[in-house]
Amino acid sequence: MIQGDKVRCMVKIARFEQSEGRDALKNCMFYKNDYVRLNLLKMVVSYTAVYVIICVMVAAYYLEYLVANAVVLPYTRIFVITGSIYLILLVLCISISIWYYSKRYDMYQRQLSGHYENLKTMRSFYQEKKEE
């Protein structure tokens, strides 16, 4: 016989797993530290790539000047300045990322707590059936 409460609970679980809970379930298999570190690593790689691309684009813009003054350019100074900017922005990005991903993980945990309650309810339904 169909149990209304059981069907409602199953619908809730299925809806959560197929929509807003998809990311939560995928990411909450990590510990919080691992999740934050993994995303931090991705961010550092992306940030470095973006920084290099922007440097290349700026260099392309000043290409004529760079070619004309290739011999007399203060390379050490250029590397120190670009390196410093890179490091300052990197620290900023890391700080923002740690805050952002920690908050996001906590949000996933909150979402999952409701989901676990529904799973417990489902388990109780199955246990009742087994006892019968």
Binding site: K42, S46, I53, M57, A60, Y61
Partner: protein, 363 residues
Amino acid sequence: MAELLIIKERIRAFYQKYSRILIPVFKFLLSLIVFLVINAYLGCDDALKAPYITLALSLICAVAPASILPVLAALLLILHIKKVSIILTVGLALVFLVMYLAYVRFAPRYSYVLVIMPVLYLLKIPYAIPLVLALYSGITAMIPMVLGVVLYYILNAVRQVVVAQTATTAGDSMDVYNQVVSSVVGERYMWYTIIMFILVFAVVYVIRRSQMKYASQTAIAIGALVNVIGFLVGEFLFSVQGEIGIMILGTILSAGIASIIQFFRLTLDYTVVEHYQFEDDEYYYYVKAVPKFTVTEPKKEVQRIHAQQENDNTANLRDAVQEAYRNSKEYVDAVPEIDEEFDFENDFKVDLEEMDLDNSNEE
């Protein structure tokens, strides 16, 4: 108001019923508009402007996930620009790569804003983006909004350069690239627009999250007002000619779009606000509950003017009764003695009843 809510419920019910068809159709139409705008605005390669290519790309977007639209739009743009200048193509591809690495890869949810923003700019209603995004998204939605504005100005600069000249040699191409970069970086009005959009976004976001009555509607109105005043000041500061009327109309239209979206998303009934106070082991709660407007669609009473149509069951029953009547009458006609004594109209029933009684006694 009640009629509007009924219409809203009908539209919502229709959408829920046919969402499997409507979502791909909407995605197809949006993609079609985006690709047509790209072809009209920056269509350098005639082969890519062919209708079957546009239709094929739109069909792919209709069935694929939503994040495929920005990718295909970027690809189409790059292929169009490739016809004019290789170095500009590389530059544009690097810009898209930066946008992907910096934002889209981490939060693909709002990546469609990057595509829609240039399209809305051409329709003169870019002001809808900060108003609408601030109403139902988080603070991080500001990033694609800003990137969208930058993308529009980049495409605008590319268009100006492409229309002015068609470069063929490497030297010319470097000039083209330098012109585009100078044009974008030196565009002070772009930076002003970005600041204004962030301001409007922040105003709408803060007001709609407040506990005041009609917070969302107030947020839209004040956001639109800030937008108009801000861009009026900007147009005087940067001497933008002939844009004031269009800007005001565009803002009104954008506020209208935001109001319609808000109406469909959430409509609250502030006339019956309820306040509750309760406690648990850890906290004391002060709760303000604002009910949503709910309407039940009035039931239609159907009055039948024509007689009920005959169906198979009633026809069979009528035939059976007529046949039974005919048989009994034939029987009576065949036996004249009975005919004399038997009154068909009155005695037939009695006779049947007696038969039933006999049967029941037998049982």
